[in-house]
């Protein structure tokens, strides 16, 4: 074996392989973003320039709470949350000599991110917002309606990244395409289409926190088996792998590092459950409009088996999709009642089906289960198959419907996604965003469940600026979703990355971005 390796290395040298790299270069193999561009506002939120560019607000790497590790040193708001004022760090500066970060850069970036070509997730939070530079370091956002969660627009999965106005004035958008000046602990070196991004450490960073790694390479690999091979061959020091491939890496001596907080929630949605009276998009033949069917489906699912199969046991059962201890309205009592309401009980499921008259009293008794691929959630097709097994076992008639994620998006936008389909909440969003996305008409057209009780509560919740009242209203919304079996919640899990312990000693990241990973400056090389 040794001889063959020597022969191979000689051959590789002869052929010009350049895999010998500095010990201070860390290569991360990860899925390619959906849009490869340096213009963040032209992506749906894939922030692969994270090592180099920042928003106004940062996150604590352990707790995930907002902190001033972004560009803003501090912030404040008025009583009704319609005015937010940010003060920028003194000394914060752009890479490549583009000067200090000023309020004018924030105004300029806001204009870019809310333009006609913006495809950003959550950009609605920034639309119709007036942004004013009060002085060099102070910028005020005036909102058309109260936004308690306004910091979300500026944090890890935010919708506003600060670009240099000076660079734009000098080079236009082409400057950003070629070499965007950011403010992070790493600066941009190169983007190779289809291959990845390279960054280098900024020496004496303005924040006083220099990255430990000299050079960082994000290597885009779409095929999971190839990403695993890249890790096993030591071409990459870290790789984001689907959970079913992680045991292969662990068996080969690699280790998993997880985010310090839950980064993702998964669930199966009963889409099309529009229970508000007079909704013309309601299909009355949907079998799950009957709450007994929704409960029966939930009772038919063995969540522990789901977690074992899909997540290799490294996840916890999720009581309410969208609810999280870090955000408004978390109800411990719902978590405690989960077993009573949702516990795996095939006999109870069959009894409920019989009571509901399933299948004979149903015009359309078939449960269409969507099988689809979503980047970052390679387990979704297996999840669909598992659901079919559980549902078939208790006597449901099922069919697997194959559709790409974009196709599901089209159906959701038309409010015609009459499917039992997988969904994720990644990163775990503030309660108001989650409620809008999954349970209330305020999130139309994409919302999957609506009922009059939640509508009423959500109207009050959206209008309220009293923290205590909001806490209570959000809790009541989650309780209604829980009691109505509005979705089939499955798992709460951290973002995980496999690392080579010979080259990486550790990494702490809070799991607050769409990709799950962030805080690249905290990667500790061996």
């Amino acid at each position: 074996m040794k001889l063959t390796r020597i022969a191979g290395v000689s051959l590789a040298v002869l052929l010009g392989t350049t895999v010998l790299t500095s010990a201070q270069t860390i290569t991360v193999a990860m899925s390619p973003p959906s849009v490869e561009t340096n213009r963040y506002w032209n992506t749906p939120g894939d922030f692969n320039l994270g090592p180099a560019m920042q928003g106004l607000v940062g996150h604590d790497p352990v707790t995930g709470m907002y902190d001033n590790s972004g560009l803003a040193e501090s912030w404040s708001h008025n009583d009704d949350f319609t005015e937010w004022t940010f003060t920028l760090h003194e000394g914060a500066e752009f890479h490549f000599g583009y000067g200090p970060v000023t309020a004018a850069d924030v105004v300029h970036s806001h204009t870019l991110h809310t333009g006609e070509d913006s495809t950003l997730i959550g950009v609605a939070q920034l639309k119709d917002v007036a942004v004013e530079a009060l002085d060099e370091r102070t910028v005020k956002f005036t909102l058309p309606r109260p936004q308690i969660d306004f910091l979300f627009a500026h944090g890890g999965r935010g919708s506003l990244v600060i670009y240099s106005k000076a660079q734009y004035d000098a080079e236009g958008l082409e400057g950003y395409d070629t070499r965007p000046a950011g403010t992070g602990e790493f600066q941009f070196v190169a983007r190779n289409i289809g291959q990845g991004l390279t960054f280098e450490r900024v020496e004496n960073h303005w924040s006083g926190r220099d990255a430990e790694v000299e050079r960082l390479v994000l290597r885009f690999i779409g095929e999971p088996a190839t990403a695993l091979a890249t890790l096993l061959s030591r071409e990459a020091d870290m790789a984001v792998l689907p959970r079913e491939l992680q045991p292969d890496a662990i068996n080969a001596g690699f280790e998993a590092i997880g985010s310090s907080n839950a980064a993702n929630q998964t669930a199966m949605l009963f889409n099309g459950t529009f229970l508000t009276e007079g909704d013309d998009k309601l299909d009355p033949t949907l079998p799950w409009l009957d709450i007994r069917i929704r409960e029966a489906i939930n009772r038919a699912i063995d969540r522990e088996a789901v977690i074992d199969v899909l997540y290799d046991g490294r996840a916890s059962i999720l009581p309410v999709f969208g609810m999280d201890p870090r955000h408004e309205g978390y109800r411990e009592d719902l978590a405690e009642m989960f077993e009573e309401y949702y516990g795996y009980d095939p006999e109870r499921a069959m009894a409920l089906m019989a009571e509901a008259g399933y299948p004979q009293d149903f015009e359309n008794p078939v449960i269409p289960i969507l099988s689809s691929n979503l980047a970052g959630n390679p387990e979704f097709p297996t999840m669909a198959e598992l659901m079919q097994v559980f549902l078939d076992e208790v006597g449901f008639q099922t069919e697997i419907v194959e559709l790409d994620w974009a196709g599901l998006g089209a159906l959701r936008r038309a409010r015609e996604a009459r499917l039992f389909h997988p969904m994720r909440n990644m990163p775990v969003k503030p309660s108001a965003v989650g409620i809008g996305n999954y349970y209330a008409s305020s999130g139309r057209p994409n919302v999957n469940y609506e009922d009059p009780v939640i509508e009423e509560l959500n109207t009050l919740y959206a209008a309220s600026t009293d923290p205590q009242e909001r806490e209570e209203l959000a809790g009541r919304i989650f309780q209604q979703a829980f009691e109505q079996y509005a979705v089939a919640p499955l798992a709460s899990l951290s973002a995980e990355i496999m690392v080579n312990p010979e080259t990486v000693a550790g990494w702490t990241f809070p799991g607050v971005t769409s990709a799950g990973i962030s805080h690249f400056n905290l990667i500790e090389p061996q």
Partner: protein, 306 residues
């Protein structure tokens, strides 16, 4: 000969026009690019704004005619996925990677398949023939992605001789090129073998042997030259397939060529790039076949005179 050339070129242009219609229709039938471009929580206002921005609110026939008119001028529109670049630029930038990989795969196919096919025919029913048959059988029955992964596992992960994937020098190209070439080697070997067997049985070959011509000369000069018309015919398909890139192999090996581009653009519903890359593939195939037609006519006078 000129009439022959004119006719073939005209047929190619008509084919191209039909292809533009099919490509445009199919790419729009597969869904709306907004579904891939916009996030899950896009608001109705955002959807309307981006629809207008991309011109997707115009009637489909207006979009097609605009596409055709612009395409005739070499303008295929701006990429939706690779912002800041035109679709033509995106395809053009991927072309060298595909030509490098396809060129090497083509070279491997020819260098391996032609001698192997000839030798298999000359040494019919011997161990060499059996080896050639096994190679051909495996090449045509093994899925390319599986073969690619196996090669990657053995030669990159276990032996460490080559990089697993990515764009780079010759060492990066060998595994994907072998994976791409194997299928073509199989097809070409079988074609060459059967063509050679037919020729080796001809009367003029027997006569050459009776006259005492050396066996090597009989095989390579008299037999192979006459048998070559069959593999030459296949070169159109072979070159077309290899030079347009293998979608599967380029994806498995993360090789950023036009095949990788095609699948990535389709997944991202980047219509301008999908249309450009498919039209580019079509033009390459048409050109390859046109060249083969011309070669065929040059080799066989009966074809150009009919």
């Amino acid at each position: 000969m000129l009439t022959f050339l004119f006719k073939r070129t005209l047929y190619a242009l008509i084919s191209l026009l039909v292809i533009t219609l099919i490509v445009f229709s199919l790419s729009h039938l597969s869904g709306n690019p907004l579904d891939a471009l916009l996030p899950d929580d896009a608001t109705p206002q955002q959807i309307e704004q981006v629809t207008r921005h991309l011109g997707l609110d115009r009637p489909i026939w207006v979009q097609y005619l605009t596409f055709l008119q612009n395409a005739a001028m070499g303008d295929f529109g701006d990429s939706l996925k690779w912002k800041g670049q035109t679709a033509a630029e995106v395809v053009w930038e991927r072309l060298p990677a595909t030509l490098q990989l396809g060129g090497l795969a083509l070279l491997i196919s020819i260098v391996v398949a032609l001698p192997l096919g000839v030798m298999a025919a000359v040494y019919k029913n011997t161990a060499l023939d059996a080896v050639a048959t096994v190679i051909a059988l495996l090449g045509q029955s093994l899925p390319a992605f599986w073969l690619g992964l196996v090669l990657m596992w053995i030669f990159a992960v276990m032996l460490g001789w080559f990089p697993t994937s990515g764009y780079g020098g010759l060492s990066h190209m060998i595994l994907p090129a072998v994976a791409m070439a194997w299928f073509q080697v199989a097809a070409l070997t079988r074609l060459t073998r059967s063509a050679m067997l037919e020729v080796l049985d001809a009367e003029y070959i027997k006569l050459a042997r009776v006259k005492g011509v050396r066996e090597r000369r009989v095989v390579w000069k008299h037999a192979f030259r006459n048998a070559a018309i069959v593999p030459v015919t296949y070169f159109g398909v072979l070159a077309g397939s290899l030079l347009t890139g293998s979608v599967v192999i380029e994806t498995v090996f993360n090789w950023p060529g036009t095949g990788w581009l095609a699948i990535t653009a389709i997944q991202g519903r980047d219509f301008p790039v999908v249309q450009t890359v498919v039209l580019f593939f079509a033009v390459l195939f048409l050109l390859a076949n046109l060249i083969v037609d011309i070669l065929y006519a040059l080799i066989d006078p009966r074809i150009r005179n009919t």
